[in-house]
């Protein structure tokens, strides 16, 4: 089980308290009818699936209830950063823990 640091609760909490919310920082086009079909399709359906460092949303549903973002290495499952929704992705996440 992952231990996920919740930036709102200020502590690591067990993974089963959370729900995964998909890739982070996917921006909805402000005016959908103004973008091309390709750009809209890309927004709706296409997500990156890297082997390595990945920013994703989590919701602490059985806890504080908030959405936040996590940078996780999909190879090692190590969580490199955890930050509040709306905050920019840390430029170069350092391994703060372990």
């Amino acid at each position: 089980m992952l231990l996920i640091p919740c930036p709102y609760c200020g502590m690591e909490r067990p993974e089963i308290e959370f729900r995964h919310g998909g890739e982070a920082h996917v921006v909805r086009p402000p005016d959908p009818s103004a973008v091309t079909d390709e750009a809209w399709t890309d927004y709706l359906y296409f997500r990156s699936n890297p082997k390595g460092v990945y920013a994703e949303r989590w919701r602490h549903v059985s806890g504080c209830g908030r959405f936040f973002n996590v940078v996780r290495d999909t190879v090692s499952d190590r969580i490199l950063a955890s930050y509040r929704a709306g905050e920019p992705r840390p430029a170069a996440p350092v391994e703060a823990r372990r």
Partner: protein, 189 residues
């Protein structure tokens, strides 16, 4: 004689709950319960109106007499007023927050409270709760939403061996049975 239709009944009324020094479960009396949400101004005004300071600290709980306020999230608290009428409490809070933006939701009948006590209380809860319940990581006075197995609970540690669980009403017989079963299998300390 009291009108049976107007007498509050608990879903745990017909169950025999374990008692003893090692592990005991008790059904708590009915309470007025609210989920309160609001920014700092609302928090301060509600603390005055409710008579209990709504804690700012993460995972903290404050209480005064039969009233308590539990931190649930950055702008969210659970207010408990045991033995009081939800209408009266809500009216008092609303009166103090007339000009402040906030949300006050009456959840008195959504959930019931179970008291878990005894030497084995933390160990039995650990059968289904994924948090580290040792006092160094879950000290007395801490409250949080979490899980027991598949059921959402709000867990509040009121003493080293004294927990209060808030759980949704329809889940409570299952939770009581699961805790009782876990206590039967708890290895000797």
């Amino acid at each position: 004689m009291a009108d049976p239709w107007l007498t509050p009944r608990s879903p745990l009324d017909d169950l025999s709950l374990p008692v003893g020094d090692k592990f005991a479960l008790a059904d708590m009396p009915p309470a007025a319960r609210f989920v309160f949400r609001g920014a700092e101004a609302a928090r301060a005004a509600c603390s005055t109106a409710f008579g209990v300071a709504l804690p700012k600290a993460l995972g903290a709980a404050g209480s005064a007499g039969e009233r308590a306020a539990l931190w649930l999230g950055p702008d969210e608290w659970l207010l408990l007023a045991e033995g009081e009428s939800a209408e009266t409490v809500a009216a008092a809070i609303e009166a103090g927050l007339a000009d402040v933006s906030h949300a006050l939701v009456d959840v008195s009948h959504r959930q019931v409270a179970l008291e878990v006590t005894g030497r084995d209380a933390a160990r039995v809860l650990s059968a289904g709760c994924p948090l580290d319940l040792r006092t160094k990581s879950f000290p007395v006075g801490m409250a949080t939403r979490t899980l027991f197995d598949k059921v959402d609970i709000t867990l509040w540690r009121r003493g080293e061996t004294d927990f209060r669980i808030e759980v949704w009403r329809s889940f409570s017989p299952w939770l009581a049975a699961a805790l009782t079963e876990a206590a039967r299998g708890a290895p000797a300390a």
